[in-house]
C-alpha cells in the first residue's frame, strides 16, 4: 500500500515534448514509473524515450485506457486547460508541476476536480513519490527509500532535505507528497492526512509547513478532533521571516492574524504535535513517537 499512487499507477505526461517534460520523463522512467503515454498538441504520432505521444488526452486514453494519473509540465498560460483536460479524461490523480498559474484559474480547476473526484496535487509542486513503487514528480528519487513514514510538505527542497535525513536514519517513506507552494492548491494538508490515516502502512507522519495560510492550524484541528490518529511531527519554515514580505512562494499574511510561525507552532503543540527546531531533528522525533 501507499497513498494515491503505487506500482500499479499508469501515467500520462502532459507537455511531454517540452524541455522539462522530456527530461523528467526520462528520470521517471529510470525510477520505474509506468508512463504509458505523453500528450502535446500538434506532436501526435511522435515518441519520447519510447513513450507514444498524442495530440489530446482523449486519444491517449482511448489507446491506453489503463492510464489513471497524469503529470503536467505545460507552460503556465496553457496549464489550466491541461488540468481540465486531464480531469475530463478521467485521471484520478493529476500532478501540476507548473509554476505561475493565476490563482483564480487554480480556484476554478481545484473546485472542478473536487466535484469530479479527481485529486489535483499542486500547482507549483514537486509531485508525489511512493518510494520503490513510483515517482510522479521532479524530486530526486535516490534520496527516498521505502518505509513506514508519510511526508506531506509545502516545500520542495525541504522535503528532499528531510526525506534524505529520514532515509539516512533508516526511516523509509510510504509516500511523500509535495502539495505545492501556491496560495491555492488542489490537495491540502488535511486532505492528505485523511489519505495517510487510511493507509495501513503509514505509521507516522511528517508535516512540513511554512508561514502563511492556515493549513497547519487546520491540521492541528484535525488531530485535536481525532480525525487523524497517527503520530505526527512537524517542521515549519520561516520562523525568522519578517512579516509582510513574500518569501519565495510563502504567501503574504492577509487572513487576519493567521499565518504566523508562532501561531502554527502553538496550534500544533497544543494538540501534542512535536515541532522540530531544525529539519535534522525530524528523524529523532519520529523515532520517539513511533
Amino acid at each position: 500500500m501507499a497513498v494515491l499512487v503505487n506500482e500499479d499507477t499508469r501515467v500520462i505526461v502532459q507537455g511531454i515534448t517540452g524541455r522539462e517534460g522530456r527530461f523528467h520523463t526520462k528520470l521517471m522512467l529510470d525510477y520505474g514509473t509506468k508512463i504509458v503515454a505523453g500528450v502535446t498538441p500538434g506532436k501526435g504520432g511522435t515518441e519520447v524515450y519510447g513513450v507514444p505521444v498524442y495530440d489530446t488526452m482523449e486519444e491517449a486514453v482511448a489507446e491506453h485506457p489503463e492510464a489513471n494519473a497524469s503529470i503536467i509540465f505545460v507552460p503556465a498560460k496553457f496549464a489550466s486547460d491541461a488540468v481540465y483536460e486531464a480531469i475530463d479524461a478521467g485521471m484520478k490523480v493529476v500532478v501540476v508541476i507548473t509554476e505561475h498559474i493565476p490563482v483564480h484559474e487554480a480556484l476554478g480547476f481545484v473546485n472542478y476536480a473536487k466535484k469530479r473526484g479527481t485529486t489535483v496535487i499542486g500547482p507549483n509542486c514537486p509531485g508525489i513519490i511512493s518510494p520503490g513503487k513510483t515517482k510522479i514528480g521532479i524530486m530526486p528519487g535516490h534520496i527516498f527509500s521505502p518505509g513506514p513514514v508519510g511526508i506531506v510538505s509545502r516545500s520542495g527542497t525541504l522535503t528532499y532535505e528531510i526525506a534524505y535525513a529520514l532515509t539516512k536514519a533508516g526511516l523509509g517513506q510510504t509516500t511523500a507528497i509535495g502539495i505545492g507552494g501556491d496560495p491555492v492548491v488542489g490537495l491540502t494538508f488535511t486532505e492528505a492526512m485523511e489519505l495517510f490515516e487510511r493507509d495501513p502502512e503509514t505509521k507516522a507522519l511528517v508535516l512540513i509547513g511554512e508561514i502563511g495560510g492556515d493549513m497547519e492550524e487546520r491540521a492541528a484541528k484535525m488531530v485535536e478532533e481525532g480525525r487523524f490518529t497517527k503520530p505526527v511531527v512537524a517542521f515549519i519554515a520561516g520562523r525568522t521571516a519578517p512579516p509582510g514580505k513574500r518569501m519565495g512562494h510563502a504567501g503574504a499574511i492577509i487572513m487576519m492574524g493567521t499565518g504566523t510561525y508562532e501561531g502554527k507552532v502553538r496550534a500544533l503543540e497544543r494538540v501534542g504535535v512535536r515541532v522540530a527546531r531544525t529539519p535534522m531533528e525530524i528523524p529523532d522525533l519520529i523515532k520517539e513517537v513511533m
Binding site: 490563482v103 521532479i138 520542495g156 519565495g248 531544525t278
Partner: protein
Amino acid sequence: MKLFEFEAKEILKKYGVEVPPSVLIARGEDPAAKLAEAGLEPPVVVKSQVLVAGRGKAGGIKIANTLEEAVELVNKLFETPIKGLKPSYILVEKAIPHDVELYAAIVIDRSERKPVVLASKYGGMDIEEIAREKPESIVRLHVNPEVGLRGYHARSIGKKIGLSGKALSSFANFLTALYRVFMDYDAELAESNPLALVGDKVIPLDARLIVDDNALYRHPELGERKIEETGEYTEWEIRARKMGLAFVELDGDIGIIGNGAGLTMTTMDLVYEYGGKPANFLDIGGGASAELVKTAVGFLFEFPKARKIFMNIFGGITRCDEVARGVVKAIEELGGLRKPIVIRLSGTNEEEGREILRQAGLEAFTDPIEAVKKVVSL
C-alpha cells in the same frame, strides 16, 4: 501588483461605483492650475499615492480647507517620503462628510478555496485591528464561484452589518461591483476601507486592489508598474529583482543563499537558532545554472550588509556540480573571494561539486548544522 488608490477608484468608477470627485496631480504638474481646472469645492483631502500600508498615520493624508492650502499641501506631500518613498502622484479629492465608516473586502480563502467577502460596520481601522477589537462585527461570506456574488448575497451581508432600505441597496450595488472587479482583474484583494455611509448611499473613501502577478499578462491595460514607485522594495531588492533574483533584505550580517523557498527560509532560521543574523533571503530556485549561481554570489559580494556568505544547497533538480562551478566562476570572474563563504552541499552530484570546490581551495560541508555553526563563528 498593488494598484494605486486612484487606479483602483478609476476601475470602480468604470463598474458603476460612485467615487468622490477628484483630480490627480503628477509630479511636475502645476497643482494650482490642475486644482482650478478641476473645480473642486473645498474642503478637500490631499492624498499621497504610495503603495505602503498605514499611509494616513505616516502623514500621507491631509485635509485642506482652501484651495491655496491644498496647493501648499500637494507641494509638501510631493517632498514628504512615506516609509522612505516620495510619491509620484497626489490625489486631491472632495472631502465627503459622513458619520459611519464601513469595511468591505474580498480575498481568496486558501483553505476553502473560494473567494470570501469580509464586511464590518467598524471601518476606518485595519482589518487586523477590527479582528482584534470587534471580531464579532466581521461578517464573512464564501462565494460559490458558479453562482457568483449576487445582489441577494450582498443584501444579506449588508443587513448583517446593520444596513436597511436604500443604504442597503447602495451597499449591495457596491459589493457586487467590487466582486466583478475582483473577478475581472484576477485580484488577490479588493478592499474599501473606509467605505463611507453618506445619507443613504455608500462611497468608497479609500480603495485597494492587488492583482495576481501571475495573471498580469491578461491585463495589459494596467501597464507596467515601475518597481521604484511601489515602495515595497529596498534599493538592493530592486537591484536584485532587475537581475532576476528572489531576494529579500534583512537586518543581519550573514548573506544567505539557498535553493527553494522552504530551504532558504529554513537556512535563515538555522542561522538565528545558532546565534547568527541573516542579512538577506536569496533563493536560487530549482535547477539553477552555474551562471545564475555566479550572479547570486556576485550580488552578495556587492551587498554591503552581507559580511560573510552562507550557501545551503540540497541538490535535487539542482546539481551540486553546477552550483560549485557557479561559485568558482564568481570568485574567478568577479574579483576573487571577496567575503568569507561557507558552503553546504548535499544531494545530486554532491561529490563532483565538492571536488570542483576543493580544486578552488574551498571545502564544502555535508551537515547543515556544522556549516551554520561555522559561518556564525566567522
